[in-house]
Symmetry: C2
Subunit: 257 residues, 2 copies
Amino acid sequence: MTEAAPATEIVTACVLIIGNEILSGRTQDENIAFLAKGLNEGGVRLREARVIPDDAETIVAAVNEVRRKYNYVFTTGGIGPTHDDITAACIAEAFGVKLILHPEAKRLLEGHYPPGALNEARLRMAHVPEGATLLPNPISRAPGFRIENVFILPGVPQIMQAIFSQLRHTLHGGARVLSRSVSCSLGEGAIANGLTALQDRYADLEIGSYPYFRRADFGTTLVIRGTDQERILAAVDELKTLIRSLGGDPQDGAAEN
Amino acid sequence: MTEAAPATEIVTACVLIIGNEILSGRTQDENIAFLAKGLNEGGVRLREARVIPDDAETIVAAVNEVRRKYNYVFTTGGIGPTHDDITAACIAEAFGVKLILHPEAKRLLEGHYPPGALNEARLRMAHVPEGATLLPNPISRAPGFRIENVFILPGVPQIMQAIFSQLRHTLHGGARVLSRSVSCSLGEGAIANGLTALQDRYADLEIGSYPYFRRADFGTTLVIRGTDQERILAAVDELKTLIRSLGGDPQDGAAEN
């Protein structure tokens, strides 16, 4: 992201996944993981993700809570043409502004649909809160939009991802979180004491411990995250020494998030 | 679930996914979708899911917020043996009780590990808030636990699922949400107006509209949810008539959530 903040600045984000279909278990969410990676790569730390239903009161309250708490908020879902698409109206209500027909959004939809097909329902997708900026949608034209620090994206993963790819360079990222991982066939409980001591010596880093189970194989992956690459590499060295001292064989992992 | 509530009662739940690895994008969450299905099948409606970091203040605040707002709360993650496993201590703090070594949990771990392997770190997994009830773990023995309306489960999907399967019959379910789905190759925008009218006539049901994209094929899946099977079937009939009137060919879907 181009507009880099000072390397020590911490920039935070929250994702709101809006949709009954996630809460009913019908749809497996993919948007949290995608946005988590995309934001972290740009120095924006995802601090919370919340899945909420297509309910106006809930959406308005959640948006107003998190937009004050985090630097950025990204919503997905609820900006299509049907009766259950209420996100734009809720965002307008949360900001206390009117929902307006955006002339440029209307023009985009007119260019996308055959003559006569831009009916009242589809025109819902050209309505945004007054003062919002459009976020171009290179796939199906109906735009997302931004108002202040809140970005409103569609729920369909391919389209959400395409819009996000075009907006990410506009984000003001802070210190990027780098990470390294090391795996070993030791159980978490075997390495835990040494790991606590390592974490205490590297209080500026975050050491996560994740057990894995693959067929007959199990073990632990340790992920070390932080903003200072040299410190991370030093901690990785100490971690490998710890693993070897316990009879394990440390394996470097692929790039981690 | 055995302890059925009156058919009209609405029983709600919230899921708290605790873990930096979800917020960093390292791990794709699977627990929300699994719990959503399992709860809905038992008449418990998942109303919110929240992903939060391994941060004590955040966990305590979230637990205390949602345990008062919903009938049930399920947490996943953070109950292993390492320094980043802080969920049990946070739950004790949220309830204002002590974290104690549970004799039965200790006995379970003693039976699971070879002599001498139950070190201090692994004994962390036998600590629960005072007053908590253990939730048996048929896979790796370290139990989950319940305190009042909050169920604390591990983050590893296989183990979480095994524990949930053993506790679900203890939940007090309300009116179960049934559903049917119908797909057609019409776009959402083509069917939206008729759908709004249908939703208005069936205000007791919830009609969701979900676009789909598969290779060169696209269309819309409509999901009708409610507690009265007859009303759902009546709405499905009207929906099929609507789709046919617009030139579409309605296809019955598989069982939906």
